[in-house]
Symmetry: C2
Subunit: 339 residues, 2 copies
């Protein structure tokens, strides 16, 4: 974070203080603050400061454990199982990705499952860590009900992102981090907080009617991408991150904003492997691959074909130089939480 | 195949004879015939008999090697690299999935990469093998250019399926096998052979205009599901199955029907793992998961919420009892190829 704007650095210090005041260790507070600042810098506001109050509320209500006893069970040299003891999701994911990196470095491949975790922000943020170590990574996590299975009129799947990262031989990693819903739930939450409308055709209200009102959408259903296909991908993610890991699944992950009846018990799955397992020149091959795609003729109005992660990187660089603009709602949250 | 209709059994024998006549060993001919018959029985006609002549043509032109020296390189107890020596894709995939099953049984996880392979039909067919051994499996393969990357006006990605399979505790496996294009290329080929129209909104002709003419679509562009997201998933599959494995990638996989300038050199990646790595009661958990989804309220007109693979299984059971109907085109192919 050394090149980050001074005011952003101060904001980060403020977040660390807030988390520490809520009982987190300095380490865990720093990991959490870093993740939140990163979300702001890449422009993923639904995973940034807009969630700070929610995290603190859940700590205060003992639904997030500020002093978790996180257990890492070794299944084999490649495989680990983490019981996050209801830690804040950021910390569980940080430990898990580091373990997945370690396992892949040791044996070529790593598989790390996490249970008893919570919302951890952006999968892509953790993918970056592995890609920086020259590894390929796949990450799956489940989330509270938001998307209706194909054929159902009620939500059950989360927006269940699929994340894939690979080194590119350039400093800008290839990181696909895509939810399987037509719109991210975080974006709907932000729109709801600021009384903005959401696009047409991406959500239904609780009666099954199309809506552009974010508050109605939050009580209704988000539509999956590509009908049966997107619904199948969401189901796959629920199985990989929930059924397999020992976490909640099948719609039992609690909504962190609305449901204070217990911890979320989200599950995550991290798969890592070395890029040079089967070829010696992976870096040249991926460089060539990206170049070939970028050189294709473009459709009208398109200046550049970008790969997943490129725009996010650009936003990060740009926003790092500037002060993070705080809305009145966030300013109020910060004021409230530091006292 | 013991419960299969007698005429289907005879058809299979005919296919085996045809492949043997083209130089394949009895084993390889049987593996190939089984895969083709299976595609017909599950109703995936684009991967069935409609491709038989193409395979034989490519063998005759020495682009598929009828007597391949397939090399399996052990990278670790979990990881293997297969050089398929331009075998028919069915054989490469069959060997690969068996190796991936073996590795997962030994160490909990298997990772098998294949290069110098060809079109292998349905990913789901190989996934079934692993699921029957009580393993979870993920399969990626690339394919000839068919889908335009987001922002490009020319195809480069294949329809690059994503396949995921898991045991369900019932005899019907959960097998998601979804291409990332709005329509399968095989379906367009079948429509072209029989002069049928294809649905609106799923393809463009070579000038970038929407078309329902399958022949124009084959020379044009298939649209990815979900825009940038589907395009990103297709790119991920090309990296995992092509860049990583040492196979062709970035649009270099040859179209098996149109391009006789060399072997396809398709790549595949198989990831397998045990279901009980992290929980003791996986079978109960997945059973409960599926039950919860199935019990959701349904939208109007939907009788049952089905999981991926369920309809295919039903079609297989139904079609197994009946004779496979041969079209005039296929009858002509069979007559031609057996002489």
């Amino acid at each position: 974070m050394e090149k980050v704007n001074l005011k952003t650095q101060n904001l980060k210090k403020k977040l660390i203080e807030i988390f520490k005041k809520h009982g987190l260790s300095n380490d865990h507070a720093t990991i959490s603050a870093n993740a939140i600042i990163n979300a702001e810098l890449v422009g993923a506001y639904g995973h940034g400061l807009s969630r700070l109050k929610m995290y603190c509320d859940r700590i205060s209500k003992k639904l997030i454990n500020p002093k978790p006893k996180i257990k890492i069970k070794k299944i084999s040299q490649s495989i680990s199982h983490i019981n996050a003891d209801n830690s804040i999701g950021f910390v569980a994911a940080d430990i898990a990705v580091k373990k997945a990196i370690q396992n892949a470095n040791k044996t070529g491949i790593g598989l790390v499952a996490v249970k008893n975790s919570g919302h951890y922000g952006l999968s892509g943020y953790y993918a970056e860590q592995a890609v920086k170590k020259n590894l390929i990574i796949m990450i799956y996590t489940n989330a509270p009900p938001a998307v209706a299975p194909h054929g159902a009129s009620k939500s059950l799947f989360g927006t269940n992102p699929i994340c894939f990262g690979t080194p590119t031989s350039s400093k800008i990693p290839f990181i696909l981090d895509t939810s399987i819903s037509k719109i991210n739930r975080g974006k709907i939450r932000v729109a709801a907080r600021y009384n903005q409308k959401i696009p047409e055709g991406v959500t239904l209200d609780k009666f099954g009617n199309p809506t552009t009102d974010p508050k109605k959408a939050l009580h209704g259903v988000q539509l999956p991408i590509a009908g049966f296909r997107g619904s199948g991908l969401a189901w796959m993610v629920d199985i990989l991150s929930g059924v397999l890991t020992g976490a909640n699944h099948a719609g039992r992950v609690k909504d962190p904003f609305d449901d204070f009846s217990g911890p979320q018990n989200i599950g995550h799955l991290f798969i890592t492997f070395k890029t040079n397992l089967f070829v010696k020149n992976y870096n040249n091959r991926i460089k060539d691959n990206i170049k070939k795609v970028k050189r294709l003729p473009k459709i009208k109005g398109v200046k550049e074909i970008v790969y997943p992660g490129q725009n996010k990187y650009k936003r990060f660089k740009m926003n790092s130089k500037k002060e993070i603009k705080l809305t009145e709602v966030i300013k109020k949250d910060l004021e409230l939480l530091k006292n």
